[in-house]
Amino acid sequence: MQLLLFLWISHTLLGINEPNPSHKFYVSTTEIEFKEDSKSLQITSQLFIDDIELQLRSNQNDLKLAPDSNAVLVDSLLRNYFENALQFSAQGKEFNFTFLGKEYKNDIVQCYLELQFEEVPVQIELKNTLLFNLFEEQQNIVHFKFQGQRKSFLLHQKKPSVSLSLSP
């Protein structure tokens, strides 16, 4: 039960009210597939458009997503944002990844990132702080897929990181 701690915050009555049938919990999903043959991580992150729009508006107040008020700007802000909010590292060394682009699916934006290893480490550390500075009760689900096996992790303010094993 202690893992529930992160779910709600202490102040006001936030969380007391659950009437909306729309998205009423703050959650993102990131699917990571390790491709051994190409030595790469294929990363697909899903965020609610409303949430990430609110986040990006800290850069530009009147920014709109889906349809984008300025698609080039939105993509570059998303790229910057992901570079800050997702960190892959091994033994203190951080890996860079490429932001390939995004797609909108109803009220969700799906972002595609790719991390190309030169040498594959035995394991990597993923720190996922997507939307943590916006919503204190934000939960980030991570699905890791490797050799047909799938593992799920739930990250939050108290546990923002997880180790992923890349050795068979």
Binding site: P19, A66, G101
Partner: protein
């Protein structure tokens, strides 16, 4: 056919002997863990109140609670004052020495335990405004102030408040059949629902200094007393909503004279509270079946924003057979009404919204209300109330009898995205739909969130799809209405998630991790799958309607729903309820192996080994043929190029002797093995594709799994060569893992791969 039984019987004997000899330990027994066993261990026993068929029993009872109230709003100070007279009719077989009432506003008391119900950690990062509300701001001074509780003659009655519950002690117990009248005077500070996210309260509009009120849970309400819980006085902690009795309401509400109001019940004095022109439009709207008529226009509402009348007006409402009462009031409201024919009844579809809701609300709100009344009535019963009102309130989505609050606001420049539009239409359908579940089919929300949210979200899905069909202009650019919940594939990410954070649907709403998917999406999806894949539309629709009509204006339990669905359809569903509602198991069914085979006169190495093992000599056996499959060293595809019989002279001769023509023998024999790594049993839907391009769809009954929970084999014989096998080809079972759904194994390209391909090109 060839008789193997002789050999088989001896084999069985030998095998059992070996098993006995090999087992060093005494065998340990087990209880019945079969997925198809009946739910006797989970279900409450049927009785005279709730029958085994799922209907109300001969001694079913429920209490009647009638309210007469005078309520006054202090707009300036945001306070609400009220005095209520309650008439309690005890239809139970029990004498009641005290009555329990719900004081839901007490969840906003400064010292409410609900404020401390969750653990908290100090945030890593914090916005300056969150810092202020976290560490500096004085908590809101909410909660009921009870002035007095009196009997009908004005004598003080003793009472005791425990958090959100109040016990009123009676001078004498109310006997079965007895009626007791008492009165309560109260007031409370109205909260800002935008800041504190309440189910009711006001929104403050800084630009013009006005407030728009959506008021509910605003008076002490009787708890339910029934045969299931006794008094349902489980505290209000915030997530589990309400359990309420039916009754008749007479409510007078006094507000500033420039306000426009909507509420539960029929307005009794429209002529008094409306201007002459408004009244004429109000009357005319009763006959406007094709489009809504504005009673108050946007222009008129804008003009009133600065009037701040000091005069007061009392709006009078009466409602029959409702479980609650809510109202919305503001001088900012635009007001429109349209008549809808529902069966023999005329119902008014009504929208009430500030100008901030336009241009979205004038376009879609009333349309969504009309569609909801029509579709829900088709699947349940004809809507029995005289009206259904959709009120626009920021961030709200909350339901009361005949009235609900809904979000969906365009940007300040009047623009809105598709998701704002569909979010708004969907929430209106959902909240108006709540009139059916739980306002009329009155389940206990405090205990079972899914019974109203799940059923409502399911019918919401059907309604959204019909809305898309009746309003093609509203879904321009989409093939069908983009429902977020209901389609089986949409629940997969939730069900495939970390088991540590998933609770069964049959959990109290306070104790689940994610109420949205748990109480809304998963049960709605389960019902959709039940309708489309398990029961079929006709059987499902009849059973679902039977449930709704049996429990209309009554208090059903989960068992009443589960039992009725079976009772009205003759389809045993205990396996479905157990799996989908009582566990967190998932669907994962796949095809494991496909093996081609034929029969030969001579045994292969494997068969020889087996014979040797049991000390049989080939010559001792009666005439028989031996299976040669693709794993066998003898397997030779050329042997059966034209006909499966080519592998065996013995078979050919036998058939000739029996006068059976060789073309009656299929050309190809396959053994297909299906696997079920997932805990849920489901009908097995398979598509077989053949070399000539033809396809065959087979649905094996779910009972296929009753003796083989992990894997099961099927034999396919055909004149055409089998080239692929696909399980659940239309993704209708919420299978969480599609990697094993096809033979030969082919992994569908992921979204990632598709996207990468797309940007490459």
């Amino acid at each position: 056919m060839i008789n193997f039984s002789c050999l088989r019987n001896s084999t069985v004997v030998i095998l059992s002997l070996t098993a006995l000899m090999l087992s060093a330990q005494t065998p340990q027994g087990h209880t019945n863990g079969n997925k198809f066993r009946q739910l006797y261990d989970q279900f409450a026993d049927p009785n005279k109140y709730h029958t085994a068929s799922g209907a109300p029993g001969v001694e079913y009872f429920q209490q009647q609670v009638d309210y007469v109230m005078d309520v006054e709003l202090d707009d300036e100070k945001s306070k609400l004052y009220g005095e209520e007279t309650i008439t309690y009719t005890n239809n139970s077989p029990d004498a009641l020495p005290y009555l329990w009432l719900q004081l839901d506003q007490n969840i906003r008391k400064k010292d409410a335990p609900a404020l401390e119900k969750n653990g908290a950690n100090s945030a890593i990062t914090l916005s300056p405004s969150s810092f202020v509300s976290d560490y500096v701001k004085e908590p809101f001074d909410g909660g009921f102030n009870i002035e007095w509780v009196q009997d009908a003659n004005g004598n003080t009655l003793p009472y005791k408040i425990n958090q959100t519950m109040m016990r009123v002690d009676l001078p004498e117990a109310i006997q079965p059949g007895g009626i007791y009248v008492f009165k309560i005077k109260w007031w409370y500070n109205i909260n800002n629902h935008v800041e504190g996210r309440g189910r009711s309260g006001y929104e403050y509009f800084e630009e013009d200094g006005n407030k728009a009120y959506v008021i509910a849970q605003f008076f002490p309400r009787l708890c339910v007393y029934n045969d299931v819980e006794g008094w349902q006085n489980y505290q209000f902690w915030g997530n589990g909503e309400f359990a309420l009795e039916f009754g008749d309401y007479k409510v007078n509400i006094t507000v500033p004279s420039d306000h426009i109001m909507e509420a539960t019940g029929r307005l009794q004095n429209p002529k008094e509270v409306l201007s002459k022109e408004e009244y004429a439009r109000f009357q005319a709207s009763e006959k406007s079946y094709d489009k809504p008529l504005l009673i108050v226009t946007e222009e008129e509402a804008r003009a009133k924003e600065s009037s701040f009348s000091k005069k007061k007006t009392t709006w009078k409402y009466q409602a029959k057979n409702v479980r609650d009462f809510g109202f919305a009031t503001s001088r900012k409201f635009i007001w429109e009404r349209q008549a809808v024919q529902v069966g023999n009844q005329k119902v008014m579809a009504v929208s009430l919204y500030p100008k901030e809701g336009n241009p979205l609300w004038e376009e879609y709100s009333t349309k969504a209300v009309v569609q909801t009344l029509q579709t829900y009535s088709k699947f349940t019963f004809e809507y029995p109330y005289p009206k259904a009102v959709s009120v626009h309130a920021k961030n709200q989505g909350m339901e009361y009898p005949m009235i609900c609050w809904n979000y969906g606001r365009p940007d300040k420049d009047g623009q809105y995205s598709d998701r704002t539009k569909f979010g708004m239409i969907s929430v209106i359908i959902h909240e108006v739909g709540h009139n059916f579940f739980p306002m009329i089919v009155n389940s206990d929300e405090r205990q079972w969130g899914w019974m109203d949210e799940g059923l409502d979200t399911f019918v919401q899905y059907l309604t959204e799809q019909e809305f898309g069909e009746t309003h093609p202009e509203a879904i321009l650019g989409f093939q069908k209405y983009p429902s977020r919940r209901g389609a089986p594939q949409n629940i997969v990410p939730y069900m495939a998630g970390d088991q540590e954070f998933i609770s069964p649907i049959m959990s109290n709403p306070e104790n689940v991790y994610q109420l949205g998917p748990n109480a809304y999406a998963k049960p709605a999806t389960a019902l959709n799958i039940l309708r489309e894949t398990v029961m079929g539309r006709e059987a499902f629709d009849h059973a679902f309607k039977t449930y709704a009509q049996r429990w209309m204006f009554k208090h059903p339990t989960p068992e009443d729903f589960f039992r009725t669905m079976e009772d009205a359809s003759a389809i045993d569903l205990d396996w479905f309820w157990r799996g989908w509602f009582y566990t967190t198991d998932v669907v994962d069914i796949g095809v494991k192996k496909v093996k081609k085979y034929y029969y030969s006169d001579t045994p292969d190495a494997n068969a020889k080994e087996r014979l040797k093992e049991y000390d049989y000599n080939l010559d001792d056996l009666p005439e028989m043929v031996f299976k040669i499959d693709e794993d066998s060293e003898m397997f030779d595809p050329n042997k059966i190029k034209n006909n499966a019989l080519e592998g065996s002279e013995l078979l050919k001769n036998h058939l000739e002797k029996e006068g059976i023509s060789a073309d009656r023998i299929p050309k190809y024999f396959y053994e297909v093995e299906f696997e079920k790594p997932g805990g849920l049993v489901m009908p097995l839907i398979v598509e077989y594709a053949y070399a000539d391009g033809s396809k065959e769809r087979v649905t094996y009954p779910v009972q296929l799994w009753r003796k083989n929970d992990a894997s099961v084999k099927k034999v396919i014989t055909s004149d055409k060569e089998l080239i692929s096998v696909t399980v659940d080809p239309d993704q209708e079972t919420a299978d969480i893992n599609s990697d094993n759904n096809s033979w030969p194994r082919k992994e569908a390209p992921s979204d990632f791969e598709k996207f990468k391909e797309k940007i490459k090109g």
